[in-house]
Amino acid sequence: MQLRQKLAILADAAKYDASCASSGAGGRNSLKSGGIGSTEGMGICHSYTPDGRCVSLLKILLTNFCIYDCVYCVNRISSDVPRARFTVEEAVQLTLDFYKRNYIEGLFLSSGIIRNGDYTMERMVEVARRLREEHRFAGYIHLKTIPEASPELLALAGRYADRLSINIELPTEAGLKKLAPEKKLPGIRAAMGEVRTRIEENRDARKPAAVANAAPKRRKPPRYAPAGQSTQMIVGADDADDRSILSTSHGLYRDFGMRRVYYSGFSPIQDASALLPVKAPPLLREHRLYQADWLLRFYDYRVEEIVPDAAGGGSGMLDLDIDPKLAWALRHPDAFPVNLDTAPRELLLRVPGLGVRNVDRIIMSRRHGRLRVHDLARLRAPLQKVLPFVQLIDHHPRRRLDDPAVLRAQLAPKPRQADLFAA
């Protein structure tokens, strides 16, 4: 089979992996080694495909042959798709060729399971090893880890990769049993726990104090997965609601120190199983989950606040027509208006339309005088959304907060826009 055909098949098979992150590997370059590659904190998107997604990494499967039969997966053993397999050397050369032309930040390598977990993982680790050791490649490497692989391979994987990921796949154990019968939640969680432990031990061992106290002349141990670990959850393939999805995410962040939980809206695949829903969930649902995830991590919201349970009058689902922060504000009109001149940071963060950046700008500039509406306009804050919830020297929302239903109708985007997303 031609390389081009293989690439077509194995890129196509990888497109359901949502992550394109290439950040967090720390500063590294090839000036001293004379190799190629660098990572400088922020990742770079080298292109965008017409689905609006960033192309940052060469995202491929080493092979799409797979012994598993996860029904949501296009590569499951019972799926009638063309199969291909890269040799280790082909994957290495492709990465180098693309990198040298500045098409990519690095490699995101995943694989179907062939023979067994260890065999597959060993091939993937070998790609990363050759890039690092034989080609002095200092670009970004993300390895999708196979939970059943042995601890020795997991240790090697983190030695060469910047990021490791193990997919949680589905929000609940029941969903996993039904849709991915060969995958086991305890094994997935154990592997995530092991990665976390290794990352933390490595961080401690590399601290200057630890190295100084150790035997003289001992060098720092090599880094282990400096960009941390992440995971991915499929949304809309089972009947888990947004509340249970976000609770699972919250647990993953807390228990395993995840850098990111990715949400991948279930996408129609060829030869789909009858166990799957007929229609894909609206892309907007995935978008709302990412917004809610952000509120959990950077805005100090609790899951119960974002998706109230039945007792709190909620359906367990995020609103699709408005974002979760606005939804919370409309459920709590008594918390507003927030006085922008005096409110503490945590209250400013609850104002719809104000992001972390603008909140910090407001705090900075209010040291030099009181804010007015035109100051907010200069910060490019969405006034229509912000003004009903804030008080300034020249503005007060008056009675607009009295009737949240009316306010909601004013602020929700027109339905036509929602249709665009649902397409």
């Binding site: 660098s38 689905d51 200069r378």
Partner: protein
């Protein structure tokens, strides 16, 4: 009050602007009395050069943050950028010591806007430069690129750190830079024809691009926002866009129609291509 003219060469040079601004501040020349010349345009009336202005005071203290901001803003092609920066420096020197923290001030706001535009262009250049291999040489590459602002000097060290082990050059209409594996060398502008017109790997790259795209999630508006059309001419993959967008709906429909078929239980046959070993063994 005498008027002066100031000329910064090269026009993005922080050092040159700094020398001129310092002379102006020391001589107490108000912003409205300096004509900052940019490129071809020059003053209608002859005026003495700012460096000739007589110093009447010590150089006022100006925060380091201003120079950092100025280094970025000077790369912008806005002809007013030097005057804007001087006005900010002047206001700081005249007592508005915390001016830069007043992000709602129109001058500060404008300077940050220009800096942001330069920052964005810098980021896009790091992203969208596409090297082509020089035929007949190993690990030698040339790229043609047209940045919106004068950022070649600013971005070049990034490419040196990243592609240290290659020899490469980036050519733009008004400046070029080359790396020989050890040092950067800057030179004059060039022509698109000075770069190779093709690269054998571009075909593979297009294959990757076409296949990593999920037609079920078509969202070209989002794509255009992040990958402005002005950069498309540099990107080999964008030639595929009309076709990919046009056929997306068709591909999704075809996939959905196949759903009705009962899937086969096992993968048919064994691998027959040049794989290392049979994966299903």
């Amino acid at each position: 009050m005498t008027s002066y003219r100031a000329r910064i060469d090269p026009p993005w040079s922080l050092d040159a602007w700094r020398v001129a601004a310092r002379a102006g501040l020391r001589a107490g020349v108000a912003p409205e009395n300096i004509d900052w010349e940019d490129d071809a345009q020059s003053a209608l009336l002859p005026a003495p050069d700012l460096s000739a202005a007589e110093a009447i005071r010590e150089a006022p203290a100006v925060p380091a943050a201003l120079f950092e901001l100025a280094g970025t803003v000077l790369c912008h092609r806005d002809p007013q950028r030097q005057a804007l920066l001087y006005r900010i420096a002047w206001r700081i020197a005249e007592g508005e010591r915390h001016l830069l923290a007043r992000v709602v001030d129109p001058d500060v706001r404008r300077a940050f806007e220009l800096a942001k535009a330069v920052g964005r262009d810098t980021h896009k250049m790091k992203a969208f430069v596409r090297f082509r291999e020089v035929p007949g040489e190993t690990d030698a590459f040339i790229a043609w690129f047209e940045p919106a602002h004068r950022i070649v000097d600013r971005v070049a060290p990034f490419f040196a750190r990243r592609f240290a082990g290659m020899r490469w050059a980036i050519l733009t209409p008004d400046r070029s830079v080359a790396w020989d594996g050890e040092a950067l060398a800057f030179g004059p502008g060039a022509q698109p024809e000075d770069a190779p017109s093709e690269d054998a790997r571009e075909d593979l790259w297009r294959t990757y691009y076409a296949n990593i795209f999920n037609p079920a999630r078509l969202n070209p508006r989002m794509m255009r926002q992040e990958m402005p059309q002005s950069y498309w001419k540099h990107l080999p993959e964008t030639h595929l866009l009309p076709e990919l967008i046009r056929t997306a709906g068709e591909r999704v429909r075809a996939m959905q129609e196949r759903e009705a078929r009962a899937p086969r239980r096992r993968v048919r046959g064994r691998v027959t291509d040049d794989t290392e070993e049979s994966p299903c063994a």
